[in-house]
Symmetry: C2
Subunit: 757 residues, 2 copies
């Protein structure tokens, strides 16, 4: 690379700017257009200094070398195959779509290879292809396919055009100095500038929003702006299209408002969906998807406009969000499928390579991230990838330990949240968040339970086979709406066979649950408690869930107290979506001759009734066998309670749904009801030695010994006759609150949210 003197000068200038900004976390809008930090290239995700460092280390940084080799082979194969820039024609899955998509990846990678290997063939390849795009683009009308609310030119939707530009701006940055000024002018005038305009000013319904689509648009415009040093584009990226106000009541195809409160631009897109804890309002599956443009544009801003302090924006929320995302995964690194989320997506996804590398490099070099990077077995071919490779090479990695964590939801962290309790391989994910935008499910206060990365009590996730064309083109299936989003599909209360907020997005979006308390100070007892008052008008649900490790139990068990109070008498359905084989019940049930759907709507039409029984005593017990482990449910019942064995699959002629089972506890004609349940995991089975260890529940009885507005108290008595008492404060429950109550003539005095002994 050239420009070494300039480089040093710029470096000093950056230091001066940083110094000037260091006591100022607020951003000064006007300052953006005034500060010119670097005109050197590359500068986006790869920097001139980074290139120098990488070249110096090549061959001695195994994970980087390996990643480089893989990219090299991939790009070489593409170069060999020759350039193809076809006239746009197809939807996703079709040839022209796939080809242009492949091109954006190859361009970005070829650009990096040019910088790192200093081999002109890669620069030439990028240049040649860009020139073909230039020749094509200026001739293009809107894409011929009309399904999108915002049609692109290369692709059927602006979203994919934006994807293209996010990647291709990186390629352009890498060969910027390789091109003549004339060549650059040609590309910028005929390709990049009109391209950026098309996805922004020409498509405001796509661009001028707070939405993950818009984030891609903003990043695309901003990144090409940074490369071109075009302040207008950069400002448009950061703050949205100047002086444009959209109709705040218009909706998109998903039923989401196009632009309800007039916010737009990259900063607004950070501001809105992320809570101060870094929770992304649609959940981890979509955060993973949205992550790349957030981080890669942030990286570019950090490098080119350090005065923006983008990684400190909103309390450093971008890096916090990576930590939140990593914590929203099970023991195998698979994301909890909150809202729409396809199971199996994990932090081995490429977007997470970006996230982990950037978090390590621009954050505080958490050695735990190195262990994830090592498992990912690849790094970015940029400054952050180099940092990770060096960290691993130097043996700095430590295990990434996921702890119990409470993540607030909402721009200001005041719209509920998600609590995760973890203890010795048992993980409880409790959702008391806001609606989660158009990808949200109607499942207030629902939970799922995991053991060592395996689902014990599942959340269904979405109903979609992403990119498997045979299943509805790989798009959302209608069962996503008729089943996956409905309340009965989740481990929470369904009242009168109707979903929360009657399944209406407009209503659901107005509300959120509220945290009662979260406590993870003690390893042995961890508790999360939250309240929901709006899902069913007139009904309040207060749910307190604990993971308790007690010396008289083999493993931590789950305690669940769901206190429902209503002005009217209702039917409450309370499901347990277990997996595996039924072992034993302590209640009698009848098995129908033929299987019929449990209802006709709100998800019930998809469940078959496989068995119907009545609770026979004060405790209903149900045990099952899954993944070579034994599980037992003990739940407080009365003899009017019904127990329904249900199985998914009714009214599913296309076999879109899995045939998963559930046990549903049903209470009819009830105003107030406190559901109290314990789920134990115990023992194990080996199919090789055929030995069953500890296959029985350790619980003789659980009992609600007090249930008032202020307190709910539960005793758990083991088979050996030992009794534990758990008291939760339903109202006055700060950490310092003092309590003194009498239960069965005995005084209990403590301070804090709960009592356990």
């Amino acid at each position: 690379m050239k420009n070494k003197i300039t480089s040093k000068f710029v470096y000093i200038l950056v230091l001066l700017v940083l110094f000037a900004c260091k006591n100022d976390n607020e951003m000064d809008v006007d300052s953006v257009s005034e500060t010119k930090v670097s005109q050197e290239h590359p500068k986006l995700i790869l920097t001139a200094q980074g290139v120098k460092d990488i070249r110096a280390q090549l061959g001695t940084i195994p994970i980087f070398d390996k990643s480089l080799q893989a990219v090299k082979e991939e790009v070489n194969a593409e170069i060999e195959a020759g350039i193809d820039v076809p006239i746009p024609k197809d939807y996703s899955g079709g040839y022209t779509h796939s080809r242009h998509k492949q091109n954006w990846f190859t361009l970005q990678k070829a650009g990096l290879l040019y910088q790192i290997l200093d081999d002109e063939k890669y620069a030439k390849y990028v240049k040649d292809m860009l020139m073909e795009y230039e020749a094509l683009y200026k001739t293009l009308p809107l894409h011929p396919k009309t399904r999108s609310y915002a049609r692109g030119k290369l692709f059927w939707q602006c979203l994919n055009d934006s994807n293209w530009l996010v990647y291709v701006s990186q390629a352009y940055d890498c060969i910027y100095n390789y091109l003549t000024e004339e060549e650059r002018n040609k590309l910028e005038t005929n390709l990049f500038r009109p391209f950026a305009d098309h996805i922004s000013v020409d498509s405001p319904q796509f661009y001028q929003r707070v939405h993950n689509h818009s984030t891609w648009g903003n990043a695309a415009v901003g990144m090409i702006g940074l490369v071109m040093d075009d302040e207008e584009l950069i400002n448009r990226a950061l703050y949205g299209i100047k002086d444009l106000k959209l109709d705040t009541k218009e909706k998109d195809d998903d039923g989401g408002f196009l632009n309800k409160d007039g916010k737009a631009g990259f900063l607004a897109n950070i501001e809105e969906p992320f809570s101060p804890d870094g929770y992304y309002n649609e959940g981890p599956y979509y955060q993973r998807y949205a992550m790349y443009p957030f981080l890669v544009f942030a990286e570019g801003l950090h490098n080119v406009k350090p005065e923006l302090k983008i990684f400190e924006y909103k309390g450093g929320v971008l890096l916090k969000s990576i930590n939140a995302l990593l914590n929203l995964s099970d023991a195998d690194g698979e994301f909890f499928p909150l809202n729409d989320g396809q199971k199996g997506m994990s932090y081995y996804n490429n977007a997470l390579v970006t996230a982990v590398d950037i978090s390590y490099h621009f954050g505080d070099q958490d050695p735990g991230l190195l262990s994830i990077a090592k498992e990912q077995d690849k790094v970015l071919l940029d400054d952050s990838g180099l940092a990770v490779a060096l960290g691993i090479k130097e043996g700095n990695e430590k295990p990434f330990t996921k702890k119990s964590i409470n993540l607030s939801d909402g721009p200001e962290g005041k719209q509920g949240g998600v609590g995760i309790l973890r203890n010795q391989g048992i993980e409880l994910v409790f959702k008391y968040a806001s609606q989660g935008s158009s990808h949200g499910h109607y499942d207030k206060l629902s939970y799922s339970l995991y053991e060592k990365g395996e689902e014990v009590i599942q959340d269904y996730g979405l109903s979609r086979f992403v990119n498997i064309e045979q299943k509805g083109g790989g798009n959302y299936l209608k069962e996503n709406k008729t089943w996956a989003k409905q309340t009965i599909a989740h481990n929470t209360i369904t009242q009168n066979e109707t979903s929360h907020f009657t399944g209406k997005y407009d209503i659901g979006s107005l509300h959120h649950s509220d945290l009662n308390y979260f406590s993870s100070e003690y390893d042995s007892v961890q508790v999360v408690s939250a309240i929901e008052k709006n899902a069913y008008p007139g009904t309040t649900m207060l749910r307190t869930m604990a993971i308790i490790k007690d010396e008289d139990f083999e493993k931590p068990f789950m305690l669940d107290i769901m206190k429902v109070t209503s002005a009217t008498a209702n039917q409450y359905d309370f499901p347990f979506y277990y997996f595996g084989q039924v072992l034993q019940t302590n209640f009698k049930y009848s098995s129908p001759e033929t299987l019929k759907p449990l209802g006709s709507k709100n998800g019930y039409q998809h469940l078959y009734l496989e068995g119907l029984g009545k609770a026979s005593g004060k405790n209903t017990k149900f045990s099952w066998f899954s993944n070579n482990k034994f599980y037992s449910l003990t739940t407080v019942t009365n003899t009017k309670d019904e127990l329904l064995f249900a199985r998914l699959g009714a009214n599913d002629p296309e076999f879109n749904l899995r045939r998963d089972p559930a046990l549903i506890l049903r209470t009819k004609n009830s105003k107030a009801r406190t559901f109290v349940s314990v789920i134990e995991s115990h023992g194990s089975y080996s199919a090789v030695s055929e030995s069953a260890l500890n296959s029985k529940s350790n619980i003789k009885e659980i009992k609600t010994v007090l249930d008032s507005n202020a307190y709910t108290a539960i005793t758990i008595t083991t088979i050996n006759g030992k009794t534990k008492l758990f008291i939760t404060a339903n109202t006055n429950n700060t950490k310092d609150s003092e309590h003194n109550i009498k239960i069965n003539d005995k005084n209990y005095e403590w301070s804090g949210s709960y009592y356990f002994k």
Copy 2:
């Protein structure tokens, strides 16, 4: 150890005897009682020389040292806990049963530890416990539980008493020299001799049979006979109770004949159930169970009575059977669940540690066995374990490569068999064997298909949760008979909704299928073909199955030609027990409002009908998605054919059955029908990258172009229009047979069983 001089003398004697026997593979009954080889102890599975060698190597043989350490910790813990020899009272699972079972294991291990570590505390422990057994046993009546056809004294059935003696005789052998003559007399007179008599002469219905139970009895009597040097017991073990003839028509509880042809004793138990190829007639799951007494007694016989040449008996069938067993497992080492077999049982089971070590030591030191031993991560603490440990230490191990193999069934290899075709991770298991004794299923010419250890087309296995007490006490569930054994539960033809041999054991036991041909000479095309004439009187089924790797296909595919001919018109049901999610069909089907059982008996009562359609053309196509891979079935149909989506679980109030799916091809009112199907595995899906590769079938059409008594010819045309031709010779099909036929005016000339091009 003492007696070194004696040892050398005995060694020379053995050599002389071996020399005398070397040209005589027949066994001389009279010679047994005359040859006294060794009075030195230990001599059963551990020998004096072996002890010497082991002691010399200790600390330098990692896998042996590790195994020893584990056993030491286990036995030390038992010694610490103290001896308990309770008065017998319980069935399996109860305390006294479990305690006596634990005791036999501990005694055997403590004996080994005494020999290997030369630490008297282990000998004393064995002696003390044996004395407690001596004191107890002489007071014992029959076990109080009455369920067994042959009650034991320590346990509810003689089988478990025999288990005890097989292990405890090893312990006695190890401390034989530690005891005084008086102590030995006491034990032999009051415990061992009456114990051996009870399970043999006092329980002939148990002992005097060809049955895996009897094998345990024979081994028990024989092993204690070897230790006590009691020729009467040894002969009783080898040849059965002298001069005893049982009623040949009596049956046991399972419906098996007690002693149909009067055979008995250990040698008869080798003779009958094993084919010359080493296939065990009940299948691999029960072979694994039966293996231990066969091998451990054989080891004892080999050491004490080498003149018997037990490992050469019947062409070396004992060692061959180990090789057969190892080959009857999938890529993960899990046994194919032929007949009654619980899935998940694998060659990591302890019985297989014995089998692998003995096979290595007494066989030809196959380096492949070392790699299995390494995965098992333990060895026997005896001469054979030492040999394996040394082999591993010396780095001799090689991968154990399972190849395509044909295993004959029947004492003389003339009762059908099992063929396994393997190619690049695809495994086809084709069963054309005899009934398989009382554990046999009614599934002539059935198959299952695997890919890399995962089931693609499954065999259900048994209906039992072995040792999980909540499920019917861990015993066979009634659904084993009503479902698992029935023909419709298997991937073969069910005629007129009736099982093969009308599901009658007596009839099934009279018949077996016959091999047509087996060909695995060529990697690219492997074929097995067999015929069944008796399952349905008047109907002949000829099935030819091939695994074909062709350059125009991504992976090897399965070709299946099932040619049915009958004197009468019948309904044929032809199921495919796939796993996973339905992706696509090329036929229309209706979905019933409610699910009803498919029939009322013969297994049909357990299947729900989930969808019913008619074939729409000459090929029916069905594709599904399982384990992140894509699968496609193409099968030749006509427009009268019905297609049924079925799911297991009807009439199963206890939830004993898995809710597994099937697609059933049904033809009504048909005399002759040749079912021709191809199953392709193709492509893959990654939930992490969400990319679906090669998700569509590669087949445009398959066609039966010739179907005569002599030949069936199939063309397979790919999407790209390439056509392959497969011709199978239905009758004249030896390797050298010459063929010359005309199909569509073209001549085909070849020699061998089949043609493919």
